[in-house]
């Protein structure tokens, strides 16, 4: 998670504001992440709070506070108040306080040697699906 607070954006074009890189398919190898590509770049969150804008702004609304999350097909398109930004390979979320980072870790002794993936989490009480 990268937190940007009180940022001034002056003459920043929306086409070049951000780009969330996809994982490199070449990372799916024994030296890196085994049979799966490392998905770290898809598990990121950029949080902007109290932006100020001068000149060309990256979005016409000049939104002071928003989130950027990577485009994960079949997942992020279900988030409320998030709009796809093709140029960013990402979604921009406004007024969505529920988005955050959930971290969990195996405490097994062999956690560095044994991968459990992929993991799917469902919240039946609030699930939209």
């Amino acid at each position: 998670m990268q937190e940007f607070i009180d940022t001034t954006l002056e003459d920043v074009d929306g086409n070049y504001f951000a780009y969330m890189t996809d994982p490199n398919p070449g990372w799916a190898n024994l030296a890196d992440c085994g049979n799966f590509v490392c998905t770290g770049p898809k598990n990121t969150l950029y949080k902007f709070t109290n932006n100020k804008y001068l000149g060309v702004a990256p979005m016409p609304e000049k939104t002071p506070s928003f989130l950027i999350i990577p485009d994960v097909p079949g997942y992020t398109d279900k988030f409320e108040n998030c709009v796809k930004k093709k140029e960013w390979n990402a979604y921009m979320c406004v007024n969505n306080p529920d988005v955050g980072m959930l971290l969990f870790e195996s405490l097994d002794e062999d956690r560095w040697d044994r991968n459990v993936a992929p993991i799917f989490i469902q919240n039946f009480a609030d699930s939209k699906q």
Partner: protein, 201 residues
């Protein structure tokens, strides 16, 4: 080290120690220096800032770099990726560097659950300028780079990794140059000014 200019260097303009955190207004460890046109070799970094226990005995907990300017470096204008709980940049000016600026920390594997991270505060980060005079009108010897203002922070737990099977050291999911992402690491950017990012190059 104050008031120096390093230009046209191979790999690094400066390799300099950080100063005590919170002393940016008065520090003279590394102040008002400028690096530009750094490239070639394996790197192109304006200044690599490292924690120095001879400068500050608390540098393993926090070290800071401030009041430095870098322009037209083929990698980061300023860069740090050394073992300390926190690195802070304050009052840096970065202009037209290919990979912007980067503040990263590394902690030992046994500290992966402790709080550590990076801060970039009060910096001015410029993209390109339409009226740049560096290139001739026909652009004959200028190369365009796809640039960014911030090389986003990786704050990793690393250490000797002697308990890890080397073939799986990047598990569970994070792909980084060294070690795994810290569970409580934070990357904070406060009161920074980005200007002139109107194209990709």
């Amino acid at each position: 080290m104050t008031n120096n200019i390093a230009g046209g260097c191979i790999s690094y303009g400066f390799n300099a120690p950080g100063h005590e955190c919170g002393k940016s207004k008065t520090q003279t460890t590394f102040r008002n220096n400028v690096a530009h046109s750094v490239g070639g070799g394996k790197n192109g970094i304006g200044a690599a800032i490292y924690p120095s226990s001879s400068i500050d005995s608390k540098s393993a907990t926090c070290f800071e770099a401030s009041h430095f300017t870098a322009y037209k470096c083929v990698e980061m204008g300023i860069f740090s990726s050394y073992t300390s709980k926190k690195v802070i940049y304050n009052g840096i000016v970065a202009i037209d560097n290919v990979h912007g600026i980067a503040a990263q920390t590394v902690v030992a594997t046994e500290d992966e659950n402790t709080e550590f991270g990076s801060e970039i505060n009060n910096c001015k980060i410029f993209g390109d300028f339409a009226d740049s005079l560096d290139c001739p009108p026909d652009k004959s010897f200028c190369s365009g780079y796809s640039k960014c203002g911030i090389f986003t922070s990786q704050n990793n737990a690393n250490g000797a990794e002697k308990y890890h099977a080397s073939m799986m050291k990047h598990l569970p999911t994070w792909k980084s140059a060294s070690g795994s992402g810290g569970w409580k690491a934070r990357a904070i950017f406060r009161n920074n000014h980005f200007k002139g990012f109107l194209s990709a190059t």
